[in-house]
């Protein structure tokens, strides 16, 4: 089996967000991590390999620093990695990212059986790349998957839908986007970290992929980012429980008008 995991390097979820003078978000001094959902994707990819054999290829579109994220996945147990890095991809939107990924996976690295992604990136929260990539590769897909079983050229996936869950059967090759709960992510072991240093990590430019800057032109532009207005603390209700509760119900009825 050839198993692909698409990952994105994102801000640590604890990171404080600072908007620079240019109205864009500053990444200065921010600790970068592998998008948490992508860890589930990589874990599932490695487990699939451990069960059925084959290799795990991790791929990201990003800057130089994204190599760290790839090395981390190699330390977890992935076999090879690709970084697609090109000046024309700075500020790339989901379209551009998925075009670049699709080109790599339909050309140089064609022949995969399954692609795992995260269900969304915690920075942009767009949840677009998996579906765009599946569309471009004309793949069956299952999103927000919490349980997945691969055998006999098929994937059986249970996924969250509004108000419940549903089980899908997909013909491989297919794309699965991971939700928390899919598995428990391993820590890279120390020997794994040592081995990761020697595993192949290839950096590709658009030209290496046979793409032009026009091919990956973004359609979506972030005009400006702002910090949301801070939510202010409201009132503290104090006193005996009965009084407090009566006051709350009154406020909910009369001031908030929500009940």
């Amino acid at each position: 089996m050839k198993i692909v995991a698409c990952i994105k390097q994102t801000f640590d979820t604890e990171a404080k967000i600072v908007v620079g003078g240019d109205g864009q978000i500053s990444d200065e001094g921010v600790n970068m991590i592998v998008n948490p959902y992508d860890e589930y994707a990589v874990e599932e990819a490695i487990r699939t390999k451990e069960k059925d054999g084959g290799e795990v290829v991790v791929v990201t579109v990003g800057g130089d620093k994204a190599q760290e994220a790839l090395r981390y996945c190699l330390a977890m147990g992935a076999d090879r990695a690709f970084l697609i890095n090109d000046p024309a991809l700075v500020g790339a939107d989901s379209r551009a990212v998925s075009v670049a990924l699709a080109k790599l996976l339909s050309d140089k690295e064609a022949g995969f059986d399954v692609i795992f992604t995260g269900k969304e990136a915690v920075d942009d929260g767009a949840a677009q790349v998996p579906s765009q990539l599946a569309a471009r590769l004309d793949l069956a897909q299952a999103n927000v998957v919490t349980d997945c079983e691969i055998s006999d050229g098929k994937a059986t996936a249970t996924r969250e839908i509004d108000g419940g869950s549903e089980t899908l059967e997909l013909t491989l090759p297919a794309l699965i986007s991971a939700q928390k709960g899919l598995n428990e992510v391993r820590y890279p072991s120390l020997p794994g970290i040592m081995k990761a240093k020697r595993k192949p990590l290839e950096v590709l430019s658009l030209a290496d992929l046979g793409l032009s800057a026009d091919d990956v032109a973004s359609k979506v532009e972030l005009v400006v980012a702002e910090l949301p207005p801070a939510r202010k603390a409201g009132q503290r209700l104090t006193g005996e429980v009965d009084e407090v509760v009566a006051k709350l119900v009154q406020l909910l009825q009369e001031e908030a008008k929500v009940i």
Partner: protein, 321 residues
Amino acid sequence: MSIVVCVEQRDQNLRKITFEALSEGKRLAVASGKTLKALLIGSGVAHLADELKKYGVDEIAVVDNEALAVYTVESYAAVLAAYIVHETPALVLLGHSAIGKELAPRAAAKADCGLVSDCIEVSSADGDYLFKHPIYAGKAIGSFKVAGPTRMATLRPNVFPIEESEGAAGAVVDFAPEIPAAKVTVTGSEMSSGDRPELTEADIICSGGRGLGGSEGFKLIEDLADALGAAVGSSRAAVDAGWREHAAQVGQTGKVVSPNLYVAAGISGAIQHLAGMGSSKFIVGINKDEEANIFNVADYGIEGDLNKVIPALIEKLKEVQ
């Protein structure tokens, strides 16, 4: 040119988010001088068109085909993309629901449009549109522009007010694109039991955290939710402890919700939790720690033992109802 709302129905029931999207679509259509169209996809769904008319829709395109009886993202996205190519609307709106989240980007790729997900505000000016979308789990708000001719957006549920409007034609037309052979079959589905509303659609949510002390503690939250007609949510600590399933988790790595009322009991108010509920209209915090962070965002904060406060609150609610 038109603004198109892609209707969401499940088992021939229209979802609330569709009315929100139609209402917002109508406001934008009026503001930017466009017509409002709805795209209704499914099998045996034509009769739902009547209800859509209430929102001032000029035209309803119905794609009614047995092959579409069961929703799959592949087939629905193929239909939506074909319609976009056929219609070249200025703007396409969907809900940022489980379906909209995947349907929109798959169609966007097929029709080669730019898409902004999870919008909390859309405005029009000078023939263009500006989309506001929270990024970094709500720690910042991005304003995005999309290159035309067709822009797509998914709208966060419970944010856009529902408004009916009259005077539009509401003509029903058929649309019959080619539907690709499915590579996916839906072999089963399971809806969570209970009559409580779905978390992302609920007007009121009662959530519990580690302070409940155990899965039995959630009984209190459920009772409160029932008294309020609310959905039940949870912090991650309570999910990790196995007291609640992950589908109930609110926060950065759970669901993002914006109900009218969010009651957080025994939840400290960690930044990752706030990321999921910070845009609620009103927040009530119940916590025994006077310095709990939840009080920094709560409109109404009650410092006390939830085991005393919640039963009393349920009593009081029963009294006034």
